[in-house]
Symmetry: D2
Subunit: 463 residues, 4 copies
């Protein structure tokens, strides 16, 4: 008789705040954050997680909590876990840690999530220059499906996944991170052209003691102060995995993570019920609390064996992922394209970020013809199982990016057809709309200048 079910190594109580949990959470990457538990290779264990904001966003009728969110707090991670093999020997730097995601999902009794856009002054997002105000949609789960009162007319099966799975960095790697991100923050605006087009700020999120959670390290101590001012924020994905937001990393997937510190110090969090490639609205998946059922193996010496550093040091590596066999099956997709010409008509050089921005803008405008507000579509494309592809990256000067949307998630046929977009009862304004706050800042809003009259239209009309 085998043990039944997974061993719960990190429980959470969603009614408690992150710092009140039985096993304290952490929201920074640092080699000295102590493990909260040990796990053995081959055993099935369960890790529970609060949502990435640590409960700041509520299931209510207002987006004020989104507008005023404290972004020094995310992501509230569960762990670190010290991984040992059957002999009790811990994972060692240079090993590869294979983490299999055997199961995952929302927590019983907490089957809901949210998708939001942050205010341009407080977080922003991929299209924040177009949509500067905070918005929010609540999603409820019916088993594998999610639906939102704020975005009627869509319902889709989730491809749930953890936004974050990562190992602790070594001190050496942490220093590399902090140095390169500080350099960007200090010199970036002048030197980097994308800042004209991708308006999210700040450029980087440097270490800060504000909002810092360091697990078992006691706040107020000298050690806490030192670590809090060194520890890396969890916002970007980096060499240790971290916030990769790979939407297909669901049941049956495997992550092969480099090990930088003894025991690996595995952490996870930022559970998503569903996400679109790119997670464009930034608070952008269907964000939820949840659980992971995991199984680890240690591939001794696997970093050297399987990962090639691609940068100045042996630490400049990236994890590898293996996608599992359980995904929703969609047979038909509508695909929107963008090229690296920005909204002002300016030509960029093979810039996939700009091409993808334009593909998303094209999709938003298109779908808004079917009775949705643009904000509804923006949130939807951030969290539904849509695919963002780099289709062409060599045909100078245009990168071509595409956004593919499964047609089956809509309750109407969204394909172009002869005649006008269908009107009548099936395309009423999709009300109620997303929850919104005003944008009170004074940064400019990008207006789509596309209304300018073209010679062609004149000809077409007179014809």
């Amino acid at each position: 008789m085998a043990p039944r079910g997974p061993r719960v190594v990190v429980p959470v109580d969603v009614k408690k705040r992150p710092w009140e949990q039985e096993l304290p959470l952490h929201n920074r990457w640092h080699p000295e954050i102590p493990p909260v538990a040990d796990v053995r290779t081959g055993e099935l264990f369960r890790v529970e997680m609060v949502d990435w904001t640590g409960g700041q966003i509520g299931d209510n009728d207002s987006a004020v909590d989104v507008k005023s969110v404290d972004l020094s707090v995310p992501h509230c991670l569960s762990g670190p876990l010290r991984v040992v093999d059957s002999d009790g020997t811990p994972a060692k730097p240079g090993d590869l840690l294979a983490v299999e995601i055997c199961n995952l999902g929302p927590l019983l009794g907490d089957e809901w999530g949210f998708t939001a856009t942050f205010d341009r002054e407080n977080g922003g997002g991929f299209l924040t220059d177009h949509f500067p105000g905070a918005t929010k949609a609540i999603w409820y789960f019916e088993g594998i499906y999610a639906y939102s009162p704020q975005i009627p007319g869509v319902r889709f099966p989730g491809l749930a996944h953890p936004g974050i799975v990562g190992t602790a960095p070594s001190a050496e790697l942490l220093n590399i991170w902090n140095a390169r991100e500080r350099e960007l923050e200090e010199n970036g605006v002048a030197s980097l052209k994308l800042c004209d087009v991708l308006h999210t700020r700040p450029l980087a999120n440097l270490p800060t003691a504000k909002g810092c959670l360091l697990g078992k390290i006691k706040e107020g101590t000298e050690e806490w102060e030192r670590i809090a001012n060194e520890a890396a924020r969890t916002i970007p994905g980096r060499e240790n995995g971290g916030n990769c937001d790979i939407k297909n990393l669901s049941r049956g997937s495997k992550v092969y993570l480099p090990v930088f510190v003894e025991g690996a110090n595995l952490s996870a969090g930022d559970m998503h019920f569903s996400q679109g490639d790119g997670e464009v609205s930034f608070c952008g998946a269907i964000e939820m609390s949840g659980f992971l059922e995991l199984k680890c193996e240690i591939i001794r010496g696997g970093m050297k064996e399987y990962l090639t550093p691609m940068g100045p040091t042996a630490l400049h590596v990236n994890p590898i992922f293996e996608i599992g066999p359980m995904e929703p099956r969609f047979s038909e997709w509508l695909v929107f394209e963008g090229i690296s010409v920005d909204e002002s008509g300016r030509q960029h050089f093979l810039d996939a970020s700009i091409a993808y921005k334009r593909a998303v803008l094209n999709a938003i405008d298109y779908l808004s013809k079917f009775g949705y507000s643009k904000e509804q579509v923006y949130l939807l494309l951030s969290c539904c199982p849509c695919e963002g592809r780099i289709s062409g990256i060599v045909d100078t000067p245009n990168a071509v990016a595409t956004l593919a949307i499964p047609i089956a998630i809509f309750d109407q046929d969204i394909r172009p057809k002869k005649g006008k977009v269908p009107t009548g009862p099936r395309v009423v304004k999709r009300v109620p709309d997303v929850l919104r706050c005003s944008y009170d800042g004074n940064l400019p809003v990008t207006q789509n200048p596309g209304g300018k009259e073209s010679e062609m239209w004149k000809g077409a009309r007179s014809a």
Copy 2:
């Protein structure tokens, strides 16, 4: 009794040069290139096409033809076709042209293709700073499968598609293209940061009479000279579709193209037996001659109805695509990740192009451990059915891009495993290698600095 099979509206003879074909080919976009045939809405018709280089690359044992390719010639397109409805009324500017790809494939008796990297001085490619020399691999087709004597150990089903489907631009749109690309070519190096990282040159390919094919326009005339100096090159994808390189645009797909000139003037070419997302080596799909069986519908006024301009004029639109139901079914994928930190360790801001470059480099190094040369893998990833995704585009400062490779295309298991990469008979050096030419230029080659000793390795070794 219905008519049997498709009507052949553009035949080609692969033994003839592009300018010798019965219906002359063209390799530029211009509103005044005259249609070579009419097609009616609803009828099934067949268009045959030479390969994109017009036969410059041979099925032989040398890459010299690649190194010395004349890039003023591609892409040799078939058409334009004037599309009329059942009443004989042509498509009008402002309409949307729905083109269904009912079938496609290689030409009988010409079942082969090639994948190549250009020399850095003559075309380059996504990783030309790493791989500056010309290389070539030949692929032979066995029905749905392709295999290459130069890249042994892989065989995969093709997802054949046209790299280029497009309509003719209006004069107004052509002017917009030429203006914005000239601006880039003239000022780009100074103003655009990506040029440090993506080394393909020139920045843009401006109109040139050299190598120009204008279909039925007689060479040597004044008209020819004028048009040749105005007509846009076919390299980049643009508002008219063109070189989109969407690898899933295969049997059963639909393209919804904007119509800018009367009759739409539909052209197609650049047939691919298979391509990976991004087509990273530039000459990068399995390039072949081939045929398309198409069916057109005209959605009257559809541009205004379905496409929203995303730029200064009503012409700044992009086509929409609908992906068909026939694709090879792969169940397992190995996924490589890249973040927007370049090979020198420098941090970039949400740059998906750099992130994708690093994901591809990671994949090349990984797969080369299994007995391949890096050039073999570079060509393979350019043409096999791998998927390039924008996974995260909001988590400042790192964009996260991923490259997913179907495991089943290899004759060995390429997953990380306990112990070392398998050696012995299954992982012999995969010989013969790709065909190569030396790189004789004096531009620097990017060296992966990853060999630098890390503190960690020292610790791991002594442990």
Copy 3:
């Protein structure tokens, strides 16, 4: 704020016997078994279920519990549930009840299951003439995956589903069932030819008070006695749905059930972690306890609108099913074929049951070459996600049936290859074997006579 998660309408405690549950279970179909709870259309509710045998089979090292199982007890069903619409009006005879399976799975802390063959004297199975003894394999679940200590070398994702979903029959329908099955039981052996080939007995399971559970009806009362002697056994699928064993009826599926009594009286049970088409070993899926999360709609008058009776009365209908989008994705299948010629070489006429029997026998023999015992394969093919198809049913005299097995569930390549079946460490005898009991009956065991020397072999050897 919406209600969180599903309402639990039927809880079970797997540590208790079926008759000790808080809401009593039932194991017969009868219109007078009273509902245990009401559910409203549109609400998400949860039904928990014990395994089909009511806990008779244990997670232990012996098959004795299988050999001596009391088959008068299965299937222990949860319900009936009375379905009412938002106005409180119950479903009415003639309505169609649409039941959506939003989620399902094993019960927390009870993540295991079993597959077994019954003794030929007590239950039998599809191949009981070949395999007359009781056998058992235990499966443990790791999230979506199942593995068995008794069948090493295979691991597969489950496509969990309820073996039984059904509505209560009316008295009229119950009478029809009892009459036709009694007729078979009484006259079948003489009149039905299949009995020579499909050796499971008895021919039908007629009503019996032995082992009977009637929910809220008090045992010992006159009412109990009457109903117990009228109520239909749950073994076969019938007009009310019931034991359909449709292996793809998983997350996201819908069942459209005819309503025969007021309130519909919906019952469910017989949860399967995974099953192969046909469930050939009879105790044949990975049998488990589990939960369903369901949502109901009532289609008023839907029986007349959508179902056509195919028999003497308006009650001779069958339910309709809609398969959901979440299934494991397998890309490669090995397919075994059978024709309607039995093991003695006798020709049958378009008999799909015999053809399928032979396809399964062929598969068992084939796979046993790879180191398995035949009993291991028999159990495996009963519970893994294999597909049983009727490929040809018109080509007299042979029906052609096929059994398709996903290749990826094995840890070795099971395809035919040049040379001999691989030997060496990868094909050791797969030990330990299934748990077994001796067969002590005196019914004959079908021996495969295939060893008889053929002229051909003699020729081949001498050549």
Copy 4:
């Protein structure tokens, strides 16, 4: 430089009759029919085939050709091909012949097909007791798609495949076939119960010189007479493969065939553009002419190594199939169920043929509610990519069979919905109907007795 494309080893001219072809066709199985060509292992070769009737059915407006078809002629097969290895050594009895289907499709210029039901007096079909008259529908191909003027409102991608791939039987095997089928033909009606329910006659098709084509054997010779009276008909699938009608045997599939005679003598024919599992109408796929591109390997001694005889001799084996990766991707299916209770209400014992008959009848009645005639649906279910499954074969007394239909092939939503079946313009009678002939025989037609008034309906109406 490799050879381009496949070598054409059997060309056909569809304007010629079967006996006028350059390489003569054959329509019987016999060891002495001489090979028409040699093929080498590893080479890609092309075999062209006429349709199974040898051109008897025309693309015209009448079903008379179906009613009067000469069924002594089918199937007109191409081959036999003698398979030799690279040394010129032929395949030997006891080997396994692996035939890979690299490509296949209709012949250029002959892109059409037909589906038909035969008259009950001349061929019949699975439901011939319900539908005794000859009917016909013509299908035209648009690349991967087929549509029929006689069955408007459906269009689907084909999963083309050969109905027949087989090797020649040895004399010993041929004798076995003839003996067992003669036994059935002579004694079957008395002994086999299925004949009450599956009304296709004759029970078996015994050897006959009428209509016989023996390839290179000269008609009128003594040899011809002898062989014609011994040679087996091609209607049923048997140990040599033959008419398996496995609808998924498409591009990328492999067939592992037993070799019974030197050279294997491989034949193929009966090309289908698409077929539903069971091919229920008998002339039942979209029947067409076509081509196969094949590649063979010989697995020496593979019969003994991989196939276990399941019958009295070493020849009682069945081929194995491997399904390829290219299939149309359907995400939603509507599933109809049948149990082994026949239309008269009589209970049968685990009879999958009867269960499948009832599932098909249920589907026909259901779909006919959406504006189709029952004959239209019968033909449609015979040729569209629907799946026929044996879901339950152990739950005495009912076998459960299911028929799953991809929803996307219809131009309307065919799911049950609240309210009535939609009426109005989307559900006009689908005209024109199939082409029909009267049934002039005097066998009884099975009438669905389902109209009989039920107690339930009475109650429902009065409520």
